[in-house]
Amino acid sequence: MKKEWLARGIVTLGLAIAVVIPAVGWWQQPQGIVVHAHMAETGGWTPENLTAEVGKPLHLRLTSDDVTHGFAVGRLDQPAVDVVPGEMTDITLVFDKPGKYTFYCTRWCSINHWRMRGTIEVTDPNIKAETAKPPLYVTLGLNIDAEHHTSAIPAQMPTAWRGALLNRAIPAEYTNRDFYLSHSPVDLWLALRSEPSFKDLTDQDVWDQVAWVWQSNTTTDEIQIGGELFAANCAACHGENGAGDGVFADQLAGDTGNANADTSMGAHTLRPADFTDPGHMLSTSPAHLQGKIIRGGMGTGMPYWGPIFTQDQTWALVAYLYTFQFNMEVLK
């Protein structure tokens, strides 16, 4: 009889250990909110909405349930971390300013990768949240959805250093930042073309000047940052060479009657814009581009990056986009 009870005891002990270990492990998890990442089509972030307080650290434990994702918080100076399937990544966020922050996935995980976002509502009992300023295109009254095209395009790609070499004084009203932000390259070209002192220059020369003005409104560092942002966030749809031929482009081409159009999430998507098309790109002002980037494409499949990029990051990206039209190399 003793043998039997001992045996039953061992059975019970073994089963208890098998069940208790995971239970204890589950209860005794290190401090932090567990956030599961899924591709947007299968749920996105869970939980999607978090709250935090200014100055109090927010501990998160991130894991992915399907493919490699990444995690970053828009407008917060915190490097992105990878969210790896089956593994836990611990991260601690500290907020200085209150407001609604957006966290997002940083590694392409599907065609709807950009929709993988959540919010962190950060409150501060003392300070009221700043009211946001409207973006430039709103102040300028630009209709960023309107069709636009120009037929005044250069024969060759304009080169900034050639424009600099011409060494002709360009009126100050055209070289200041406000003009750059609110006018398209073809606007500047038309203005310079009608400038009497430039009558002797060829059309191509004037384009080179435009390129030079464009380059003088940015720096190599800014273009580099823009390039990195483009590679990480835009190239998958717009193509690594900006021609609107990224790996997801075919699936987005909706209204052309393409059978592969992605109509998930109730969207009629369009083929991504081709930044190498001069007729289109040269008639777009930086403010217009900024608006499109911030606001997104109203159901065309173009994500809205407003909550994600800082102002500086957006202008860097805009500056980079013009490198598909202008050669803005700096000669040493």
């Binding site: 490699t68 590694r107 392409w108 995980c109 190239a235 690594e240 790996v247």
Partner: protein, 155 residues
Amino acid sequence: MIDQTPLKKQLSHWWQWTLLSVLGLVVFFVPLPARATTPIDQIFHIDARRFEYDPAILKVNQGDRVTIELAATDVVHGLAIDGYNLETTADPGKTARLTFVADQPGTFRFRCTVTCGNMHPFMTGKLEVGQNSLLWRAIAFTGLVLIAGVWMGRK
């Protein structure tokens, strides 16, 4: 019971086994007819999606300098070649490049190294460098082994 097997039969058994062993050594050591080729540069563009590589079978000659451009078309994928100790990872929109000299002959599997979903452990392709001498020798051996096995069983 005294072994009454005639001497002749015993000798013929011994002869059969020696012949098989010699053939076996030949199959093992004889070099395969190698087509003399000058090494060239080869570039392969591979699209990776869940759960396949396109193209999945690459053929090169021994000594070629091979560049693989890995373009991920849906999620992050990786590529590592068995036997060559090479690995790379590609995000959609960021084509990754891997360049190496195919100095070892044979057929090597390459696999995905970034968890990309359920069938990720089975996402594979093949790199065929020159002749697959292991396969040819194995096939030759199957013949010898078949005969040897039957003799063994009938003894």
